[in-house]
């Protein structure tokens, strides 16, 4: 028998894990001489208290949905794709090439092209570690870490030596042409009569991300590919027995994973900065790990976890502005969430399982 009910496994355990992480974060704030409750208030009002704050929160959440989904798809195949950062970097390159070198007539054609560019380059960057894992048995965790650094060096080279406009000192591409500018959230919501703050980075990519959540859900639980990905992730010998080709499925899973990670750049590079800059992914590739772990690799969980991290990111920025707390606090919270939902899961799980077993015994 299962040791505890399904709802406890998917809801109670993660919630308690996150709670522990938050309490510890509060202690950290208290330890550096600030009031955790005041800090919480600043974070909430700064990120959720106005549509302006929401504009940032949703912008960050969009990034994290893409990278979280990317991590989760690989994770269902039993692959620990820690290379979301590099794949997002290459995705940015894809967006930039599409926006700079193709004269798009309008934004919605441009966003299709840019998404394609981002997905293709993101997938390509995931393809090499995937192939090495599937064919040569090279540990994908290590190779994807290496590929993050190689991606950073590659982008650095391209921005400094190739894509930088003549005369500019800034290692960045030129601004993308006007027609590629994506509609902001206030334009979209305004069109249907919902007032929303102007000049926030949230844009139409949010809806692409939500659509991606739904598509990934359908992929994993309602398609043959998803079935094969999950089967391979549980047991490779079993997959072989069933005639599932490990090399092929590993490749598909990583290509989808890399494409999703790359598509983050549609939101950040195309939607927000309007040009490709150095380190455009700002660690979102790594936050995707936390988001997917917290969301238990389920798109709905990832959606919620991405919102939470969006809130943390925006709130953390506000803290740096209004209190003497550096925004690195968010990194600490993120670390604690990863630690407790991912690695120290058993701290909560084992006592809970024991409690449920005792309760069951008592009932008979």
């Amino acid at each position: 028998m299962d040791r505890m009910p399904h709802w406890a496994d998917v809801v109670l355990v993660p919630v308690l894990n996150v709670l522990i992480a938050f309490v510890l974060s509060g202690l950290v704030i208290w330890a550096i001489g600030e009031n955790p409750f005041d800090a919480m208030q600043i974070m909430v009002s700064g990120s959720l208290g106005s549509t302006y704050g929401w504009g940032y929160t949703l912008y960050y959440a969009t990034n994290f949905m893409f990278t979280g989904l990317g991590f989760a798809v690989a994770s269902h195949a039993g692959l620990f794709n820690i290379g979301g950062e590099g794949q997002a970097t290459l995705g940015g390159l894809g967006v930039a090439l599409m926006c700079l070198f193709i004269p798009w007539p309008n934004w919605w054609l441009a966003v299709i092209g840019a998404s394609l560019g981002a997905a293709v380059l993101g997938a390509a960057w995931a393809a090499i570690p995937a192939w090495l894992q599937a064919k040569r048995g090279s540990h994908i965790v290590i190779t994807t870490i290496m590929f993050n650094f190689i991606a950073a060096a590659l982008l650095n080279y391209l921005l400094v030596n190739v894509l930088r406009p003549v005369g500019s000192m800034d290692p960045a591409t030129a601004n993308f042409p006007k027609p590629t500018t994506l509609p902001e959230l206030n334009q979209i919501l305004g069109a249907i009569g919902i007032p929303f703050a102007k000049h926030t980075p949230a844009n139409v990519s949010l809806f692409i991300a939500i659509a991606a959540c739904v598509l990934v859900w359908a992929l994993i639980w309602h398609t043959r590919l998803g079935y094969q990905i999950r089967a391979l992730g549980k047991s490779e010998p079993a997959a072989l027995y069933a005639g599932i080709r490990p090399v092929r499925i590993t490749m598909y899973a990583m290509l989808i994973s890399g494409a999703l990670g790359g598509m983050m750049a549609v939101n950040s590079t195309m939607g927000e900065s309007g040009r490709l800059i150095m380190n455009a992914s700002e660690g979102a590739g790594f936050i995707g790990i936390a988001v997917a772990l917290m969301g238990r690799d389920h798109p709905f969980g990832i959606f919620l976890a991405a919102l939470l991290f969006g809130f943390l990111y925006q709130g953390g920025g506000e803290l740096a502005l209004w209190a003497n707390i550096p925004r690195e606090l968010v990194t600490v919270i993120q670390a604690l969430v990863i630690l407790f939902t991912g690695a120290l899961d058993n701290v909560v799980r084992l006592p809970l399982e024991a409690a449920f077993m005792r309760a069951r015994k008592r009932r008979g």
Binding site: T223, Y227, P237, Y241, G243
Partner: protein
Amino acid sequence: MGTDSAAGATGTAPPAIELKGISKAFGPVQANKDISIQVRRGTIHGIIGENGAGKSTLMSILYGFYKADAGEIHVGGRKTEIPDSQAAIKAGIGMVFQHFKLVQNFSVLENVILGVEDGALLRPSLSKARKELVHLAKEYELNVDPDETIENLSIGHQQRVEILKALYRQADILILDEPTGVLTPAEADHLFRILANLKREGKTIILITHKLREIMEITDTVSVMRRGEMTATVKTANTNPTELAELMVGRKVLLRVDKTPARPGRTIVEIENLKVTDRFGVERLKGVSLQIRAGEILGIAGVAGNGQSELLEVLGGIRDASGRVEVNGKALALTGRDADAQSRREAGIAHVSEDRQHTGLIMDFAAWENVAFGYHNDPAYQKNALIMDNAAILADAEGKIERFDVRPPDAKLAAKNFSGGNQQKIVLAREIERNPDLLLVGQPTRGVDIGAIEFIHQQIVALRDAGKAILLVSVELDEIFALSDRIAVMFDGKIMGERLPNETDERELGMLMAGMTGKPDGEAA
């Protein structure tokens, strides 16, 4: 104290080991219930029981792996607490596990001294152990090259290293858990000589096995376990295999399955000169040729690891091979893209794999998802080109669960939550109801409870009677005899011979399984 007096005097000398009222539960499962035995010094004491009877749990308690919920252990007459392996070693207990606990890339010497080094530096320990090993080799026929790396040793030699480890730790009491499961008969005979030597030197040996032949051959006393309980302890000389078998399973054993004589039809499967080389370059199949006809069960007998698994894997599309295999007159691809399990299923081959937990099922998937496993491309399971029809799979699964009497009848339960027998029924339902021309079955009743065994055997015979070809691989000779219409024996990647079940006996098959053809006094091939 002399060994003679210890072995002879009952009641005066304290037993080497005495267990009093040992109980152990894992959650709701009572693995050991109030177990008490006495093992006399200088004897070989057999403990026999089916898979899951609680033998290994009992020995793990004795070796400090588990803490008993209740009961006492007395060693040499003194009550002894054994909280960990260290304490067991100190009490003079040595254990040879079924799966060896050796460091594969260490030398024999390094493995022997691990944990009992003298001092912080290795050099003195190594030279001391080297001398001791020479001495032990002479005394007990335990020859192993002390400098060889474990991964280069045969299984039989690896087992000797385990025994050497125990002796080097001054063990007086040696526990062996299913020691012959992985050995050839020749290696097993050598092991028994070693055990006899050890007994002569006054060591006490506890032999855990489910093989009656071994019990009768070598033990002085035998205890029988069933469902966590010790049902009897008798002197081996005063009992016989039939009585022990009854004690083991709790009722008369059905040695024969109810079946009519086979009416074989045309040849379905034609295997010619099949060869397999594994990734280490070792030849696992050395030119196997077989035929299987419609409406017959071909049983493959043999000690585990002689190529039977590889044969199943080649036919199931999991492993590449060279040679020729025809099913229904069509040649199967043995290498390349089409040599996969999907193509095999399309060719009318169904496969009940030897290890349902690691290959046949995805343990975390629900039963209904497992029903589609391997058949996930079936058009009946698809809504359209993209989306699978989960409702259709669920409905199909519920039907199969009812027809094969899977309990509990809950298709949404994860496979890991079913008992071994019911897991196997799920696999069989999936494979048999595909109505294959050839059914591959590996170890169909391994870890399956008695009640389910009969049901599973009946299903396999029913498929035969429907005119299908069946290839059965089992390490249980009883099962081979009960089901097969024809028996082929494998040894060292070769077919040693084919026999009809009513024209042969266990003795003859045993010789073939040991690589000996016909002549009883011949050398191992």
